[in-house]
C-alpha cells in the first residue's frame, strides 16, 4: 500500500515521491530550488534524533531541518 506520510517519518534507506509541500511561498521556493518538488523521488540517508535529516535528491545530498521535513509529504515507495 502506498501511504502518504511526512518526509520526516521515513527511516534511513527508505524512499518516497514528493506529493505536496505545505508552507508559505518563501518556504516552498527554497525547497523547490534545491530540487525538492512534487514529483521527485527522495531517499533518506541518515536521520538522527538530533539535528536535520539527510537526503538524496536527484544526485545531491541535502540536509533538511526536521521541522521542514515534516511539512513535505511523500508517497512511500
Amino acid at each position: 500500500m502506498n501511504m502518504v506520510v511526512p518526509l520526516s517519518s521515513l527511516k534511513p534507506g527508505e524512499r518516497g515521491v514528493v506529493v505536496d509541500i505545505r508552507g508559505g511561498p518563501n518556504f516552498r521556493s527554497k525547497l523547490v530550488a534545491v530540487g525538492l518538488t512534487p514529483g521527485v523521488t527522495v531517499q533518506v540517508v541518515e536521520s538522527y534524533g538530533y539535528g536535520p535529516i539527510i537526503l538524496y535528491v536527484g544526485g545531491t545530498r541535502l540536509a533538511v531541518g526536521k521541522g521542514m521535513a515534516s511539512r513535505v509529504f511523500v508517497r512511500k515507495l
Binding site: 511561498p25 521556493s29 530540487g35 525538492l36 540536509a63 521541522g67
Partner: protein
C-alpha cells in the same frame, strides 16, 4: 571600445570561484553590490587581443525575490545587460543545476554558454554525458570543463569570444508547461502586453513570475498598471490555484523539473554506482550527534591553535619590528613635534595595521580549507539547532570561537554566513567575546587583586561576556534586523581535497583587502589618540586633552565606582585593549601602584567594563568594512551602553553586599 561584459552564474559550490580565478588570475577586484553587503567580484581576461570584464554573480539555486543574493543576480541579468552569460553547471548534479539554467533561459536571455564543470568527478561517479547532444538540445554551446585542473578554460574563452561577436547565435530552449498552465501564462501576458512594462521586461517572464507571486514583479505591475489590474491578475491566479488545489509556484516548479528530466535523458546516462560513497561513510561519523560534535571540537581546537599559536607571535614580531624602527628613527628627527607624529603616531599606527596581516591571512586560510574540503556545510548541520535559539545560523559558531583569539579576523569570518542579516547579527555581537588582549587585562586584574580563586574570577567575567553576547544576538536578530525564521536546507557537497591555488589566492586577496580597507581607519584612530595624549601638554600632569576628556566623564565613571583615570585608560584601550592597564600605570606612576589605590570590587568592575565597553579600533574598522559606518557606530554605542549598565549594577550590588 568598451569591454564586453561576461556574467558568471551558477548554483553554490559548482566551481564558480575556481573558474573566475582561472579566467582572471590576479586581475580581480572585490567589492560590494550597491546598497547591500553581498560580495561583488570583477576581473578581466584577455583573449585574441580583446579584453573581457567578468562579473561573478552570487551563487544561487534560483532567481526568486526571496533572498538578496538571488535578487542581486537576477537584477544584474535583467538590467546589467551582460554580453555573454556563462552558466556554470555541475555535471554531477545536472537536474538541479539545470533548474537555474531554465530560469535564465526564461528571462529571455539569448547569449548563454553552459560551462559543464566537474567532468572529472562525473566520470568517477559513472555519469556519462553526451556533450554535443546536450548542446543541441539545450540550444546553447556547452563547454565540458574540469576547472580544478584547468581543463576547458581555453575552449571557454574561445566560445565566449565567438558568442560575443555573433559568430555563434545560441537559441536557448525555454521550458514548456502543460496546456492549462500555458493558457494562464498567455492570459496574463495579454493583460500586460502593450504596456510600458512589456517594453522593459520579457512578457512571458513577467507572467511566470506573477504566477509565482513574485514580490518584486508584483510591485512592478502595481507601479506600471495600478492596483486594479494587479488585483484582477491575482484573483485570476487564485482561481487557477483553486482548480489545481495547489499553489501555482509548486506546479510550475514540478513541471519545470519534469521538462528538464525529459531533456536530460536524451544526453545523459547513469552507470550503476557501487555501494555507499566515501562521503556517505565519512558523514556517518562527521554529522553523528555524538562523534560529530567530538570531531567538531577537535577541528575548532586545531584551527584556533593554528591561527593564534602561529598568528599572535607573528603579530608581536611585526609590532615589535615597527616599534624598534621607531626607536631607531627617533634620534634622527630633530623637530619634537614631527618626531612624535611620525614615531608614535604614524609608525605605530601602520605597525598595528600590518601586524594584523598574519592573523587575517591564517584565518582565511583555515576557513577556505574548511569550505573547500566541504566541512563547512557539516558545521552548519551540527550547530544549526543550538545557534538558532539565539537567532543565529549554525555556521555562526565559527566567528564566535575565533573571537576568543582576536575579534578582527572573527568579524571577517562572518563572511562565511550566507545570509546578509545573519552576517549583521553575527558581527554585531562578536566584539563582546573577550579576545586575547582582554585576557591579558583580565589576568592582570585577577592576579593583582584577588588572593584566591583566580580562575573562578576570570571564568565569571568570560561567562558574563558570553551570556551578554548570546542575549544580544537574540535581541538584535529579533528587533534590529528582524531575521526571519528561514527554513534550514543546505547541500552537503562531496568531500574533496582542496585546491591549494584557490585557497592561497583567496586568503591573500582577503588579507590585502583588510590592510587596504581597515588600514586607514586604524591609522586615523591612532593619530587622534596620539594627538589627544600629547596636546596641548603631554600626558601626566592632567593637562592633556585625553586627561581633560577623562575628567569630564568623571561623574559618569563614579556611577560605577571608577574615577577619571579609568576613563582615560579606557580611551586608550580603544587602540588596543591591553593599553588599559599600561595607561593606568602611567597615570599612577606604575602598574603595581594600582593595588594600593583601587579596591577589589573596583578592579573587578574595571575588568568587566574593559571586557565589554567598546570594540577596539581595528575591530570597528573590520565591522565597517564588512557592513557600513552606521552599523559600526551602532555596535559601539550599544556596547558602551551595556558595559555601563553592567558596571553600574555590579558596583552597586557589590557595595550593598559589603565588598
Amino acid at each position: 571600445m568598451a569591454m564586453r561584459v561576461v556574467a558568471l552564474a551558477g548554483n553554490p559550490n559548482v566551481g564558480k570561484t575556481t573558474i573566475f580565478n582561472a579566467l582572471t588570475g590576479m586581475r580581480q577586484h572585490v567589492g560590494n553590490w550597491p546598497g547591500v553587503t553581498v560580495e561583488k567580484k570583477e576581473g578581466v581576461f584577455e583573449y585574441n587581443g580583446e579584453r573581457f570584464l567578468v562579473v561573478d554573480l552570487p551563487g544561487t539555486y534560483s532567481l526568486t525575490a526571496h533572498s538578496i543574493d538571488e535578487l542581486v543576480a537576477r537584477n544584474f541579468l535583467l538590467n546589467g545587460k551582460p554580453d555573454v552569460v556563462v552558466n556554470i553547471v555541475d555535471a554531477t548534479s545536472i537536474l538541479r543545476n539545470l533548474f537555474l539554467t531554465m530560469e535564465i533561459f526564461e528571462m529571455g536571455i539569448k547569449n548563454v554558454v553552459i560551462a559543464l564543470n566537474k567532468m572529472d568527478l562525473a566520470e568517477k561517479k559513472g555519469i556519462k554525458i553526451d556533450v554535443k547532444k546536450m548542446g543541441e538540445i539545450m540550444g546553447v554551446p556547452v563547454v565540458p570543463m574540469s576547472a580544478k585542473e584547468g581543463i576547458g578554460l581555453r575552449e571557454l574563452k574561445d566560445i565566449i569570444h565567438r558568442v560575443s561577436h555573433g559568430e555563434i547565435s545560441p537559441a536557448p530552449i525555454a521550458p514548456r508547461y502543460d496546456p492549462e498552465v500555458e493558457r494562464e501564462i498567455s492570459h496574463i501576458s495579454n493583460i500586460l502586453s502593450e504596456t510600458e512594462l512589456s517594453k522593459r521586461y520579457p512578457l512571458r517572464w513577467l507572467a511566470i513570475k506573477l504566477l509565482q507571486r513574485d514580490d518584486e514583479v508584483m510591485k512592478l505591475v502595481l507601479r506600471y498598471l495600478g492596483e486594479e489590474k494587479l488585483r484582477e491578475i491575482m484573483t485570476h491566479i487564485g482561481e487557477a490555484e483553486e482548480r489545481y488545489g495547489r499553489a501555482m509556484d509548486l506546479i510550475l516548479a514540478s513541471q519545470k523539473y519534469e521538462f528538464i528530466d525529459n531533456l536530460m535523458h536524451k544526453f545523459i546516462r547513469y552507470m550503476k554506482s557501487e555501494g555507499p560513497s566515501l562521503t556517505d561513510q565519512l558523514d556517518r561519523l562527521l554529522i553523528h550527534p555524538l562523534y560529530g560534535f567530538m570531531t567538531l571540537a577537535l577541528v575548532f581546537y586545531v584551527i584556533f591553535k593554528f591561527v593564534f599559536a602561529l598568528g599572535l607571535p607573528l603579530q608581536k614580531i611585526l609590532g615589535d619590528a615597527f616599534s624598534s624602527f621607531g626607536t631607531w628613527l627617533a634620534p634622527h628627527i630633530s623637530s619634537e613635534v614631527l618626531k612624535g607624529l611620525i614615531v608614535d603616531g604614524i609608525i605605530s599606527g601602520v605597525g598595528t595595521v600590518l601586524s594584523f596581516f598574519p592573523l587575517v591571512f591564517l584565518l582565511f586560510l583555515s576557513l577556505s580549507i574548511l569550505e573547500d574540503v566541504g566541512y563547512m556545510a557539516r558545521v552548519a548541520v551540527l550547530m544549526e539547532k543550538l545557534m538558532r535559539k539565539f537567532g543565529l545560523p549554525g555556521k555562526a559558531i565559527i566567528p564566535l570561537i575565533l573571537g576568543l583569539g582576536c575579534n578582527v579576523p572573527a568579524v571577517m569570518a562572518t563572511r562565511s554566513l550566507d545570509d546578509e542579516k545573519d552576517r549583521l547579527v553575527a558581527m554585531f555581537i562578536n566584539p563582546f567575546i573577550p579576545c586575547s588582549a582582554r585576557l591579558s587585562v583580565i589576568s592582570f586584574i585577577t592576579a593583582a587583586f584577588f588572593t584566591s580563586n583566580h580562575a573562578l574570577v576570570a571564568v565569571s567575567i568570560y561567562l558574563i561576556a558570553i551570556v551578554v553576547a548570546l542575549l544580544s544576538a537574540k535581541f538584535v536578530s529579533s528587533f534590529l534586523v528582524k531575521v526571519e525564521e528561514s527554513p534550514f536546507v543546505i547541500e552537503l557537497p562531496e568531500y574533496l581535497i582542496p585546491s591549494w591555488k584557490t585557497v592561497l589566492l583567496h586568503s591573500w586577496e582577503r588579507s590585502k583587502e583588510f590592510v587596504k580597507k581597515a588600514g586607514t581607519v586604524i591609522l586615523v584612530g591612532s593619530l587622534v589618540i596620539w594627538y589627544l595624549s600629547n596636546y596641548p601638554v603631554p600626558m601626566g600632569e592632567g593637562k592633556s586633552y585625553a586627561e581633560r576628556i577623562g575628567m569630564f566623564f568623571e561623574p559618569y565613571m563614579r556611577l560605577m565606582g571608577l574615577d577619571w583615570k579609568a576613563a582615560v585608560s579606557l580611551l586608550f584601550g580603544i587602540i588596543a585593549k591591553e593599553n588599559v592597564i599600561s595607561t593606568y600605570g602611567i597615570l599612577y606612576g606604575s602598574e603595581g601602584a594600582l593595588v594600593g589605590v583601587m579596591s577589589t570590587l573596583q578592579a573587578y568592575v574595571l575588568a568587566i567594563v574593559t571586557t565589554l565597553y567598546i570594540p577596539c579600533i581595528a575591530t570597528i574598522a573590520a565591522i565597517r568594512m564588512e557592513s557600513n559606518w552606521k552599523w559600526a557606530a551602532l555596535v559601539t554605542f550599544y556596547m558602551i551602553t551595556i558595559a555601563s549598565m553592567i558596571g553600574i549594577i555590579i558596583w552597586h550590588v557589590g557595595t550593598a553586599l559589603g565588598y
